[in-house]
């Protein structure tokens, strides 16, 4: 047991030294995400989405169109379905959606944020739509700047690339140049080697991203409502699950080109459907299911809940369980499929 820990520690240390001394790659890992957050904050300094967005809570058999209420026939407004008031109301408060209508209560209600100009404009449209009167409910909440919302997305996306490519490429390169074959001739076991790679990558990604986060928070005055420790736990779990995903990809390949292709196939959809740049609320159901199967989605939803809404770990059971399950699945698959040498 002691020997096993010594082997894992030695391999973790060796890999970490290699990464830290590769200055060009380290610099890139540090500087790139900060530049990207600043750049996007500048480009998207206005609200992210041009449409008016209204959440609707309605019986599951009801169609979200004018037949339910004439207001739902308003052009230029995107109506989408929410299941519970608890999930939808904070979005009104954070100005992420402009209005919320609930048709499940005996007398239908709508919620408007009195600090949201767009909400107040939509309120006039309801009144003028000619349908049954809706009961007005007020709520308030400071608007979340787009940069507060997008920064966790960009940091998460950057971390996703660092996890997948950082581990995937390195192991494939080790296999291609014969280093894995050399290690296989020592008492180091495959699972020990994989744990060492994972630990080393995880530690470095956490250190780098704490730095990047601190820089972004200083430069952009990012909103942070929750606990830093909770955020660290969630980020570590998310990174773990994405590194484990990289282990699966690199389990057998000995071609960096093929590995690069597969990693791109994995990372591109994550960039698009996991809600890095725009909220996936109201996107087609199939897309949301796909997003739910990807670890980045859960990392971002949990990180945003902590940073923007001040959620604690106890409220984040679903994303945490999802990331833990994915970590376990990918890690077992990666270890089962792993081969020291190319066939």
């Amino acid at each position: 047991m002691k020997a096993m820990f010594r082997r894992i520690a030695a391999a973790t240390w060796a890999r970490s030294l290699e990464f830290v001394r590769d200055r060009s790659s380290l610099g890139w890992n540090l500087v790139f995400p900060i530049l990207m957050v600043i750049g996007l904050a500048f480009v998207f300094s206005g609200p992210g989405q041009p449409l008016f967005k209204v959440a609707v809570i309605a019986p599951s058999d009801a169609k979200l169109d004018a037949s339910l209420h004439p207001f739902l026939g308003t052009p230029q407004v995107q109506f989408y379905r929410e299941d519970t008031l608890a999930a939808a109301l904070p979005k009104v408060q954070r100005h992420r959606i402009d209005l919320l209508v609930d048709f499940t209560a005996q007398s239908p209600h709508y919620w408007v944020n009195t600090q949201s100009p767009k909400g107040q404009l939509l309120e006039r449209l309801i009144t003028g739509s000619g349908g049954a009167a809706l009961v007005r409910e007020e709520t308030t909440g400071r608007e979340i700047r787009y940069v507060d919302w997008v920064a966790p997305g960009i940091l998460g996306m950057n971390m996703m690339f660092a996890c997948l490519f950082g581990i995937g490429y390195v192991i494939v390169r080790y296999r291609k140049n014969g280093y894995l074959k050399r290690l296989n001739a020592t008492p180091l076991r495959a699972v020990e080697f994989l744990i060492a790679q994972l630990l080393s990558r995880l530690l470095l990604i956490l250190v780098v991203n704490i730095g990047v986060f601190a820089a972004c928070r200083l430069l952009l005055d990012l909103r942070m409502e929750g606990s830093y420790l909770d955020l660290l736990v969630v980020v570590a779990l998310g990174a773990f699950s994405m590194i484990a995903m990289g282990l699966v990809v690199s389990a057998r390949l000995a071609s960096e080109e093929l590995a690069g292709g597969i990693l791109n196939v994995l990372s591109t959809p994550m960039m698009v459907v996991c809600g890095v740049f725009f909220s996936m609320d109201g996107s087609p159901r199939a897309l949301q299911i796909a997003a739910d199967l990807l670890p980045l989605t859960h990392l971002l939803s949990a990180a945003r809940a902590i940073m923007l809404d001040g959620a604690g770990l106890a409220q984040l059971g679903y994303p945490i369980a999802a990331m833990a399950a994915m970590s376990a699945l990918y890690l077992s698959l990666g270890a089962l499929l792993f081969k020291w040498r190319q066939d």
Binding site: R6, W13, L17, E18, N177, R182, T186, P187
Partner: protein, 298 residues
């Protein structure tokens, strides 16, 4: 033969290894006696590396057995033997000493690193990035890595391929020291001089089969009772008149003879210039050509 009474440290029996289309090893059997240097010789593609990797426990044979000290190779085997591959990449950005410490930490029994440094003469470049070593320095580091667990049995797979002659001689000195310390070495090479100098016993392998086996000097004595004279090709036209048979080989003409004195006298009488005459004993390379009809590096 040396140590013929001792129990073999490694026993290889009827080894067969087939890859998808290739029959790399076709029924090899040999014993390696403790404290000796055992050479596997043969041209590229003869099956040397496959054989040594099966003996290292890294490849599973299609058929046949390998036993270490009379036992099948178990899970602990890797802790006990030392291995140097033909070419090995190390991690980037690690120095020589860091590489040594890393590999050392992987083993339960470890030889003090200071001893390894002295043995493999690494003192002058301990803090150098292993990527920036010369070919000879790199092979010495890889040898030291193969010795971190103080193995009784050491496998060296073409350790001097690609080295310049000076570096190769330095490496031979190290191997000689290791052998003198009582370690057993299994060596593959296609340099006949290397095998002749270092090995107590050799097998010559071709197409996955053993074509000759024994002590190098005895093998040569069994197959040859003559020597080789080499004269410059410019003198070739005078040789026919001497009654000797010359075989053109590049810049020289080779003359096989069992009686060197008589042959030199005949050459002198025929007016052949002896200014650049070379007389050499028969080599393992000659033996290989004799046995297969081909050169070793073909």
């Amino acid at each position: 033969m040396t140590n013929s009474a001792a129990t073999p440290i490694l026993e290889v029996r009827d080894l067969v290894k087939h890859f998808k289309q290739v029959h790399a090893v076709n029924g090899l059997s040999f014993d390696v006696r403790p404290g000796t240097c055992f050479g596997l010789l043969g041209p590229n593609g003869a099956g040397k590396s496959t054989t040594i990797e099966i003996c290292e426990g890294l490849l599973t044979p299609t058929a046949g057995t390998v036993r270490y000290k009379g036992e099948p190779l178990g899970p602990k085997y890797r802790e006990r033997v030392g291995i140097q591959f033909q070419s090995t990449a190390l991690q980037d950005h690690l120095t020589v000493i860091e590489n040594l410490r890393f590999f050392s930490a992987l083993y339960p029994v470890r030889r003090p690193i200071d001893e390894l440094i002295a043995l493999c003469r690494l003192e002058d470049f301990l803090d150098r990035d292993s990527k920036k070593l010369s070919g000879g320095q790199r092979q010495r580091l890889l040898l030291a890595i193969a010795l971190v667990n103080d193995p009784e049995l050491l496998f060296l797979d073409e350790p001097t391929t690609g080295l310049d002659p000076q570096a190769r001689r330095n490496f031979w000195d190290l191997v000689t020291d290791i052998k003198a310390a009582g370690r057993t070495i299994v060596l593959t090479t296609h340099y006949m001089e290397e095998a002749y100098l270092l090995c107590d016993e050799i097998v010559i392998v071709d197409h996955g089969r053993i074509i000759a086996q024994g002590v190098p000097s005895q093998l040569l004595a069994e197959h040859f009772n003559d020597s080789m004279l080499e004269v410059p090709a410019a003198e070739a036209h005078k040789i026919a008149a001497t009654g000797l048979t010359g075989l053109a080989k590049g810049e020289t003409v080779e003359i096989q003879t069992a009686d060197v004195n008589a042959a030199v006298a005949a050459l002198l009488a025929g007016g052949v210039s002896l200014a650049q005459l070379r007389i050499r004993p028969r080599t393992l390379e000659d033996l290989f050509i004799e046995l297969t009809g081909r050169g070793l590096r073909e």
